[in-house]
């Protein structure tokens, strides 16, 4: 309990003195994870929409695969991306290992299945309601998919937030492909891991408290917007 109190004090102290290093780490965390979630949404949402409306052989298998990949271990993704981006790997010449770009790629891969699978579920439920009406109006699959994306937009915000939460909270993948380089690829989670290994548990926990508060604040904001929008648009 004493340690928890210490951690809270540490967190407050860090915020209180507007620690510039902390600020840098927080900004990088947000940049990396928000970019990753954008990339993942641009790829994952259309996949979810397509899976919701398309009937093809093997659809069930693809859905099961996506659901299973939601539990993809970050370390495995990290290793995979590391081997791809390593100088000795196929994408080595790009020279982006140990950069924020590499971390974005790893996080995006990690959350595409989450966004794909959860948005598929959301849109499939909506499709049950919409299907006859849209087919009656002569909507082709592609139109139907984009209509569903637009009409379920408020629920999809929650889906995207789930992806963001996973991205910003994960450490296994980014520490491998980012290298936790001070000032370059050190984000909240890798900083927490580092402070933990240095045995500075209160500081590590303090950073953790800041991370969780950020995520909560972001979710609260999104939830307020969603509520307001639902009240407005039904």
């Amino acid at each position: 309990m004493e340690e928890l109190r210490q951690a809270c004090l540490q967190a407050l102290a860090l915020i209180g003195r507007l620690d510039s290093q902390l600020f840098e780490i927080v900004v990088l965390s947000l940049q990396v994870s928000l970019t990753a979630v954008t990339v993942a949404a641009v790829i994952g949402l259309p996949i979810g929409a397509a899976l919701a409306v398309e009937c093809f052989r093997g659809r069930q298998a693809v859905i099961v695969l996506f659901n299973a990949l939601m539990g993809l271990p970050p370390v495995v993704v990290g290793l995979l991306v590391y081997l791809l981006l390593s100088r000795a790997g196929p994408l080595g010449p790009l020279g982006i290992l140990f950069t924020p770009t590499a971390m974005i790629i790893a996080q995006a891969i990690l959350i595409i299945p989450i966004i794909g699978a959860l948005s598929r579920q959301t849109m499939e439920d909506a499709w049950r309601e919409y299907e006859e009406q849209l087919r009656s109006l002569g909507a082709k699959r592609l139109t139907a998919a984009s209509t569903l994306l637009w009409d379920t937009r408020f629920s999809l915000v929650t889906v995207v937030l789930a992806g963001f939460g996973r991205a910003v909270a994960e450490v296994g993948a980014v520490i491998i492909v980012g290298g936790n380089i001070d000032g370059v690829t050190r984000v909240m989670t890798t900083a927490i891991a580092l402070e933990t290994s240095k045995g500075d548990l209160p500081l590590a926990l303090g950073l953790g408290i800041i991370l969780v508060s950020l995520v909560i604040a972001l979710n609260a904001a999104a939830s307020l917007i969603r509520e307001a929008a639902l009240r407005r648009y039904g």
Binding site: T35, R87, L97, F98, I104, I181, D182, V184, G199
Partner: protein, 272 residues
Amino acid sequence: MFIALGLTCAALIPPGGWAQQRFITVASTTSTEQSGLFKHILPMFQKKTGIEVRVVALGTGQALDMGRRGDADVVFVHDQAAEEKFVADGHGVKRLPVMYNDFVLIGPRNDPAKVKDGRDITGAFRKIRTAQAPFVSRSDKSGTHAAELRLWRLAGTDMPASKGPWYRETGSGMGPALNTASSLNAYILADRGTWLSFKNRGELAILVEGDNRLFNQYGVILVNPAKHKHVKKDSGQSFIDWIVSPEGQNAIAGYRINNERLFFPNAGRRSG
């Protein structure tokens, strides 16, 4: 909303990260990074040369592997045998000794295996084994792990082949392993630098130190540009030149925690 936000963020990240100035990537060990040494000396180097040094801290085994794959320009590690093999295999240009510190045997203050007050590290290891007192091993192919296995061999035990339940293989870095030892009240071999900067000590203290066999030499190697064309030969070489120069050596000597020196420069004074 998210898409807009994300794109803004993406726009803020130039390709390849914040590579405004020249930089090199150094694969090094957790002991050098976590002891705070790099934070102390790298700004001096950058101020002088304008070259940013990006340190990826891993175990010695992983760090050498990173060099082998061409993902680092310079490796800065502490396992002489492995380093020499690295150079002999053509992955590195030349190995230069930089500095040393020493390993210390850490253990619970109440010392159940009665190893305290000695300098004899192999004797202490034998007592731990006889008492079957809990012992935490890094088991991560790091330099410290290699040193620990060497000491067990000198003590007449082939680890991990003859391990018992008292011998805990954590497979983690120095810090996490110390955290484990702290909560288990176990013995552990650690490098002095990490120990000095480690905060979560609990009941642990240094029990054995000063044995010649606890000597821990660090070496620096430029990754072979003939093997990996993209290796930043010139910048990497300037870093190596600087760290073995009197200026770099003084910088190392000047790093202290609680007025205690962590690393002792010995470039050019000792071959290994």
